[in-house]
Every structure is written in C-alpha cells, then in structure tokens.
Symmetry: C2
Subunit: 340 residues, 2 copies
C-alpha cells in the first residue's frame, strides 16, 4: 500500500518524535501542513500523555504519531549502583552547582504498557516504537484499527519487524540524532550510513521503508526516495522550530554546530544516542568505568540536567542532534507561529 | 566546469583506486566503459608504478586516475617499536604459522615525491590524493596540464582543498571502505554519513563534489546526484569484478557479508580504515595497548598478511570493504572479461 494512503497524509514526510523536544504544537502544525507530526512520549506519565494527545486533537483532525520506547527497554537491575569514579564525578557536579543529593538510579520512562493503553484508548492513528516492538502489541494496535511502525538499524531488525507485522519500518541511519534504535547486536555494528542502509533494507523487506538520518532538506528527501524509501523522517531539521520545547541555549548551540561536534555516546542515558558533545559527555567517557544500564544512567543526572536547562548551561544538558546539524535552516528558528 | 568535461569522461562515475585491489585491467576496462578508472598506487615502488601506468595506456587511450597517499602521511618516528603485548601476539602468530622473524617496522608506501614524479612524467590525466594534498604538488600537477582531486571527510578539509586549488573534492562518507581520508581532527569526529556529508560540502565549496561511501548501484548514484554531487566514486561495487587482484577468499567473504561485519579500525595499518572484521583485528584491538603509528603498524604484519593471502586465510588479511557490501552484485564476480 502507498504510504500516503497508509497514514492518510498528503506528503510522505514524518517529523521524528524526539522525546523531550516535540510538543503538541509542533505535532499539530506538521500534521496540518500535510506531513505526519510525531510526539515523543517515552518520558510522559500516562495521565500527562493523555492530556498531550488531547491537546494535539484539539489543534488538528489530521493523522499524527506517538512514539514509545519498547517495554523491553524497561528491564534492568534496580539494584545497580553507579561506579566509584562516576559517583565522585556526580557528587562533584552537585557540589559545584549546589544541587543537594544525587538522585538514586530509577526509571525515567514508561511504564510502556500503560502508555500504550492510553494510545489505544485515544485511538492515536500511528504508534511508533523505538528499541524494537512486541508481537502482542502489534496485534493489539491492529485490532484497534491503528497503524504501527518501528525503527531498524540493521537488516536483521527490519526482517524481524516485518515478520511480526509492523506496517512500515524506519531505516535509522548512523547520521540520526537521539537514541539509536538498535535492539539486536552491538550498536557499533549498526552505525550504518543512511545511504547504505536504506537500499539494503528496501531489498530485504516488502513493507514500506521510511528513511531517517541526515535528511535536512529537499535534497535529502529526493535522495532517499531514489534509494527506495517511500517516506522520510526528519528530526534535526525540525529541532529549531519555535514549536519545539527545547531551551534557547540548545537552539543556539545547534545553529552554531557542525556534524563533527555530534557524537554517539552511552554516557548520557546508558544507551547509545547521538548528540552535541559537551563537558558532561567528555568527562563521563573519560572515566573509563562501566556505566549504569539504561535508563538508570540517565536518571542519576536528572537534577543536574534540569538545573542546566533552567540556567541555560549547555555543558550539562542532553542536546540530541543528527549529523545534518550544519544544514539547519536558521529561518526555521525565527519563524513565528500561532500558538493556541 | 562540468565534471565530465573536466575529466574527459562520458559517465560521471569514478572507480575508487583501492590500493591492493585495483589493476591496470580494472582501470582500463572502467575507463573504456566511459567512467574514470583509478589505480591505487600508494604501495607501488616508482619503477613498478611506471610499468603499471604504461600497461593501462596500452589498454586504453581514455582518461584514468592514479591515487597516492599524501607525503605528509610518510612522516613517522622510525624508532617506534611495537608494544609488549602486540609483540607477543605477533610472535605467537609467526610461531603458529611458522613464519620466522617478525618484520621490523618500516615504510610500506611511497616515496610519494618519487611516485608523483612518475605520474607527472607519464602525464596521468587525473592524480588523486588521500590524507590531504600539498599546495606545491597541486601547482606542479596543474603546471603539467593535469587534474588533481583529493578526499575530504569533513567540511574544513573540503574548504582547505578548495583553497589550495584542487579541481574537485571527494566527499568520503563514513560508509566508505578502506582508509579514512581524514587529515584534520580526529577520525571519530569525521565519520559522517554520505547523506549528511555531501550536501554540507556542496554548500561549503564551489568546486565540483564527488560523492563516495555506500554507493553500490543506480539508486545510490541518483541519490548522490540529488544531494548535489556532480559525480560519484564507487569502490566496493567494483571489488568483486574479475579484473581486481583480490584473493578468492576475500571475494567470497564479501559476497557472504553484511554491513555490520565491517568495522573502522586502526589495528591493521595504524590509520583508521573500514574492512571486514576478522581474528587479527579483534585480537589486536583487544590488547588495549597503544598501536604503532601508520604505516609501521601495517609493516610488522606484512609477512603474516602475505602468507594469509597465499594460503587463503581470511583471518589475517586486510579485507577492506564499505558498508554497501550487502549490495554487491554477484554477477560482477562471475562476469568474464578479456585480459590482454
């Protein structure tokens, strides 16, 4: 099936859900413009998520998507504790910025099962997963008459997603910002450039392929269509839009950055993700100490990151970005928009 | 100037020079077919290089290119010695395969200045450099009425190459096989996917841009043209052709491999390069010991690699390959060709 019919959209362009940056305003405006807006809901408690979805629906009757992190990503040892060097580093930051106690490791996301129930209740037209998808969830989404998509970073993942019935697969190339969707094998082996990944996944599956990673303007969109993708998903290209919820310092950092300033690191959350390198990433990496498992690694820096966001300190924020960062159109940041 | 006029070629397709895999037969057949064949000459002593060029000229009157490694890459400390753990590993391999003494560190390449003189004498139509280019060489090539191109892996490198007068820049995306051309900054920061790198370099320079990395068939070629590249350079796509000089076991390994089996490693030569992971790469990386500088790291495994090639042992060969490996057309390996 044609992907525009599948999603009921005018243009085969998806706005990447970008947990922490997308807002109902951004989602609704992209969908109103004929693309598929996407809300990154991984960190939203179920009740808050429901209100966000209702806010989108108030602004548009068009299709949109909501993204969850796979429930499988919530499995971790709650007894895990940060290593000695990392504990000392965090304590030092808390002293430097007068932040009190370092938070205990805990889960920042989900519970995904409850989040999914909200999406089913609210009949979210397209539900997308990161870090893999479960067959029973795919079936439940289809039983509700909704669509489901998921990221793949290698060919094996794409084939598995097809076999459990997802409606389309997002081929996430190594250029992409934010968390790597890898759920089979090491992430290092799945840092495959979009130009190489997309045609290999297109050849391996018969469901529609959505290209993601490094796509910033019409050139990238046309290129990915030539590679065989039926649609494209852009994140970094939308990141400076006034509708996103990102702090101004993140926006200004993006506008001043080049591709080489991004790095794929596990220092921030415990899972590999691409963002702008800063003091926090460098100092944690330099410890050369095993990190906490995702999402505990993320949780222990929560106070630090919140304060950095409030005070505009880019050295301690998670500033996700793809390698297309140098192509961000500054006018996307200066555009005004009607906010309801 | 249109790149087809610049190089006097019918199709804007360059065959990547691939030191160790390209042969006069391959170069001549690509050029005869209307592309630009390329000979990887870095490891060829000047007299041998002259004979190879003359062999190409006997087979075709069309334009072709010859690639050298930058003279700057020949600067190293000749007193460098392998670390204790690496020495023991190498000695163990030499014992396992009854190879006698481990070679002393030395230079395997160049001398680039003498190689360049051969190219000027023989009036090689297009001279390409890897690891940067020297302004005086660019001028000497232009004084001889010849063309010069060089790889860039980031925007700064592309701008520098333009400023010293190269005729076109090869944007080498992270998907590419073989040595990373990086000559400014860390190679990790310059593993930028082709889809993100090409349009950023196109926007940064006014000379023609040649896209390289992950391009395997018409889809990749059309995609790169959409990104703004005037031409494309393909290596892995040609690697299984009967004209290449690669051992059969390398060919069979490529035909059975996926993108995730390639890795960018400094273990083989001392400089980062992408190839198929094997026992040698894994065991050297696992030493967690500083390596010899390029090209000394390469030199000490020369006996081991030669014997692996002769006996068809893929675990100790340098099997360069890009991330497009899964798209190699098996018929390229089975095609017959007239050899002179």
């Amino acid at each position: 099936m044609n992907i525009k019919q599948l999603f009921d959209i005018e243009h085969p362009i998806l706005q990447a859900p970008m947990a922490g940056a997308s807002t109902p305003d951004l989602v609704a405006n992209v969908s109103e413009a004929g693309g598929l807006g996407g809300l990154g809901a991984a960190a939203m408690p179920p009740d808050y998520l429901r209100k966000q979805i209702q806010a989108i629906k108030q602004r548009t009757s068009a299709a949109f998507s909501v993204n969850l992190f796979s429930p499988a990503s919530e499995i971790f040892d709650p007894e895990s504790q940060p290593g000695d060097k990392f504990s000392a580093l965090l304590a030092g930051y808390h002293q430097e910025f007068e932040l009190g106690e370092v938070p205990a490791p805990g889960n920042l996301f989900g519970p995904a099962e409850e989040q999914l129930q909200v999406l089913l209740d609210e009949r979210v037209p397209v539900i997308s997963f990161h870090f893999g998808a479960e067959p029973e969830h795919v079936d439940a989404i289809h039983d509700a008459g909704l669509k489901v998509i998921c990221s793949a970073t290698n060919i094996k993942e794409a084939k598995i997603l097809e076999s459990i019935g997802v409606d389309a697969v997002i081929a996430q190339g190594s250029e992409a910002g934010g968390h790597r969707g890898t759920f089979i094998g090491s992430y290092q082996d799945s840092l495959i450039g979009t130009l190489a990944l997309v045609p290999q996944i297109v050849d391996a599956v018969s469901i529609p392929v959505i290209a993601a990673g490094g796509i910033m303007d019409a050139r990238g969109i046309v290129a990915c269509r030539a590679l065989g993708a039926q649609a494209v998903q852009l994140g970094t290209a939308f990141l400076c839009c006034p509708e996103t919820g990102i702090p101004d310092v993140w926006r200004q950092t993006l506008l001043a950055s080049q591709a080489g300033q991004t790095t794929v690191t596990t220092a921030m959350s415990g899972k590999p993700a691409r963002g702008i390198r800063n003091r926090y990433i460098t100092e944690v990496e330099n410890l050369n100490e095993p990190l906490l498992p995702y999402p505990l690694q993320y949780a222990v820096s929560e106070t630090l990151r919140k304060q950095a966001t409030q005070t505009g300190n880019p050295e301690f924020m998670a500033m996700w970005s793809g390698q297309g960062v140098g192509l961000i159109n500054p006018s996307s940041a200066n555009r005004t928009h009607a906010q309801s």
